[in-house]
């Protein structure tokens, strides 16, 4: 794709003033939340280009999160995969709390203060976003309550304890499938009841406008740093970027700053769970069905009667039945290509990265590693690729042990 032939909108026009990315996005919520979303949009517009706000956030990024995170050339990994490409890992796993999630929660916690609110709520699946929200709340002196499905609480006991240790309350959600989507429903309900004193920190590029834009902007530090580091370390631009996609926050953070570099190819990797044909997967883009879910128009897994169906993935962070609207737009417009890998492929990729680079990735992030053999044949020989390594795998050690020892 080159700039002269593309008819894509510019990044500044994504989303449009109504919050749409092409035909995706928008604001589909109960009336009770409309005023809060309008207020959030107004306040965010006022801080978006406010040097003082960004100075404060950058200070936290540098001295608290540990940014910039390294861009590491994975030579042994590249060699193992055939040696025809150079692969660079953007090490978000080295962020404080172990994943990219803190970039967004710190940004939104600062925003909460600008909103004049003292309490935040958040939804979480595996607990990574919950821990990141609890961490930001502890640091900035905000009250925090995290909504988590009863099923996920069982699977992630340690993260539940960690959130409590950080001073957050954890609310067990027993409705629906008792996982991430239901935790999100319950957080939205709580927000409706306490919208005046509470800000809802959504953890991914999902939800009603302006959330997908806000989360993208705070996560874009990943792509901005990558672009600069690549130019300094290698020169010029990479040929491609690749990252895993659940709701889509780490991938959108990596992709967006390269959006107008029309020659840089983009690859998102969805979780194929037990395999697309089994129906037990999280490939909402691969499935290409449009719906309205959690406040936005997007690709979502659903029944022929428009009921949302649960997603399936071994990685809780990708176990979500929809994909953020901006990704849906990237997919439909052809700006990015979406691949998928199964649970087994992702787990094998965890071990591969351990053994070639001495890095244990989160199973989520390992999906991107596992997709490299599917992506590299689409690039020229000698291609240079940046891979978003969104989190570390310490939380997945039990799952991995179970897999490899059985």
């Amino acid at each position: 794709m080159s700039q002269t032939t593309t008819t894509l909108p510019l990044l500044a026009d994504l989303p449009d003033p109504q919050g749409y990315y092409g035909r995706f996005g928008g604001r589909y919520v109960p009336e009770t939340l409309m005023a809060a979303l309008e207020e959030l949009e107004t306040i965010y517009a006022s801080v978006r280009h406010d040097p003082e706000f960004h100075a404060e956030l950058n200070e936290l990024f540098q001295h608290y999160v540990g940014r910039p995170t390294p861009l590491w050339e994975a030579k042994r990994l590249a060699e193992t995969l055939g040696g025809k490409a150079r692969i660079f890992l953007k090490r978000e796993d080295l962020c404080h709390t172990g994943a990219h999630k803190l970039n967004n929660t710190l940004g939104q916690a600062l925003l909460t203060k600008r909103l004049g609110k003292k309490r935040v709520i958040a939804e979480t699946g595996a607990g990574q976003h919950g821990v990141a929200a609890a961490t930001a709340a502890a640091l900035l002196g905000l009250e925090c309550e995290v909504f988590m499905g009863a099923e996920d609480i069982k699977r992630q006991e340690l993260n539940v304890f960690r959130m409590k240790l950080l001073g957050s309350k954890v609310r067990e959600v027993r409705s629906g499938s008792m996982t991430l989507k239901d935790a999100t429903n319950e957080a939205l309900r709580e927000w409706m009841a306490r919208v005046e004193d509470t800000h809802y920190i959504i953890g991914s590029c999902i939800g009603p406008h302006p959330y997908p834009m806000i989360v993208r902007d705070f996560q874009s530090v990943i792509g901005r740093e990558s672009r600069k580091q690549f130019n300094e370390q290698v020169g010029g631009l990479p040929d491609a970027v690749i990252a895993c996609v659940g709701g889509g926050s780490n991938s959108m953070g990596l992709f967006a700053p390269f959006y107008e570099d029309w020659d840089v190819k983009m690859f998102g990797v969805e979780a194929e769970g037990e395999g697309f044909l089994t129906g037990r997967h999280a490939c909402s883009i691969g499935n290409r069905e449009v719906g309205v879910f959690h406040g936005a128009r997007l690709f979502v897994l659903q029944t022929p009667d428009g009921q949302i169906t649960p997603a399936h993935s071994i990685s809780a962070g990708l176990d979500y039945p929809g994909t953020g609207p901006e990704h849906c737009f990237y997919a439909e417009s052809g700006r990015a290509t979406y691949l998928s890998v199964t649970d087994t492929e992702a787990i094998e990729a965890c071990r591969l990265l351990c053994r070639t680079e001495g890095i244990l990735p989160a199973i989520e992030s390992a999906h991107a590693v596992a997709a490299l053999p599917k992506m590299l044949p689409q690039l020229n020989e000698g291609a240079k690729v940046i891979l978003g390594l969104s989190g570390r795998g310490d939380k997945d050690v039990y799952t991995l042990r179970k897999y490899f020892e059985e």
Partner: protein, 263 residues
């Protein structure tokens, strides 16, 4: 004239508030819903809100969440609800029927197809709580052309400027949400409800009906003094659930609704 409009007009002439009942379609099964609606009609209900269950109902409290879940497990579909609408219409020619449900199942059915089918079945209007007027253009236009009233909601958090736009867009009546939060019976109504409803009434000549949290005759009576309609939801759904399959279901529903109407 649309049955919703005539119902409010009739009650207004009598100096009374219209009584509106929400019921989750297919909870726990279609036959129960049908019998319960017979009871409501016999008690003198003005409008039935026939709830289309959704897997992820973000505006609903525990009672309607559970009802939706059970109804879906028991196989309720949008088509079955449209068929049910047709049967109710035949038995109760004057009862106003408002289809009430989340946007996604309607979108998936096809917006124009849904409006056509709803209109053919004899529905009088629709209310899609997660579809604010600014996103509703396509459905609203189709509804308007078919003579279906599209009802919009005003919340306690709605700014006066928005409330005016919503009042203008809404057809049939304006649904005033009594409190912040989700649906479900509450022991007490907010103390400033009356002035807030009056403020909306001052913006429009359309009827304003109050819902969310109303369960007791005393609450209905108090609200009827300043609102044009009173909406009962979760408390009725709970009653229907508790009496499903029992021979006295219809009489119990009728007695409950009758108690509300008498008040």
């Amino acid at each position: 004239m649309n049955r919703i409009d005539s119902a409010f007009e009739k009650r207004r002439a009598e100096g009374r508030a219209a009584m509106i009942y929400y019921i989750t379609a297919g909870y726990p099964d279609v036959a129960t819903t049908e019998t319960a609606i017979d009871g409501l009609a016999e008690a003198g209900a003005d409008v039935i809100e026939l709830g289309i269950p959704f897997s992820d109902p973000i505006a609903d409290g525990p009672t309607i969440q559970e009802a939706s879940k059970v109804a879906l497990e028991n196989g309720i579909t949008v088509q079955a609800i449209l068929d049910l609408t047709g049967r109710i219409r035949q038995r109760h020619p004057d009862l106003a029927i408002l289809l009430f449900g989340a946007y996604n199942p309607i979108l998936h059915y096809g917006e124009q197809a849904f409006i056509d089918a709803a209109s053919a079945a004899g529905a009088d209007g629709l209310l899609v709580p997660d579809l604010p007027p600014e996103a509703a253009a396509k459905l609203h236009t189709a509804a308007e052309a078919a003579g279906l009233a599209m009802v919009f909601l005003v919340a306690p958090t709605t700014t006066p400027e928005r409330a005016r736009k919503i009042a203008e867009a809404s057809r049939g009546f304006i649904y005033y949400i009594s409190l912040k939060g989700v649906t479900g019976a509450r022991a007490e109504m907010p103390p400033d409800l009356e002035p807030r409803v009056k403020a909306v009434k001052a913006m429009t000549r359309k009827p304003v009906a109050v819902g969310f949290g109303v369960s007791e005759p005393a609450q209905a009576k108090a609200i009827a003094k300043f609102a044009d309609g009173v909406i009962i939801g979760s408390a009725l759904v709970k009653l229907v659930g508790a009496n499903a399959g029992k021979p006295e279901l219809k009489e119990r529903v009728k007695a409950y609704a009758g108690g509300m109407i008498e008040s």
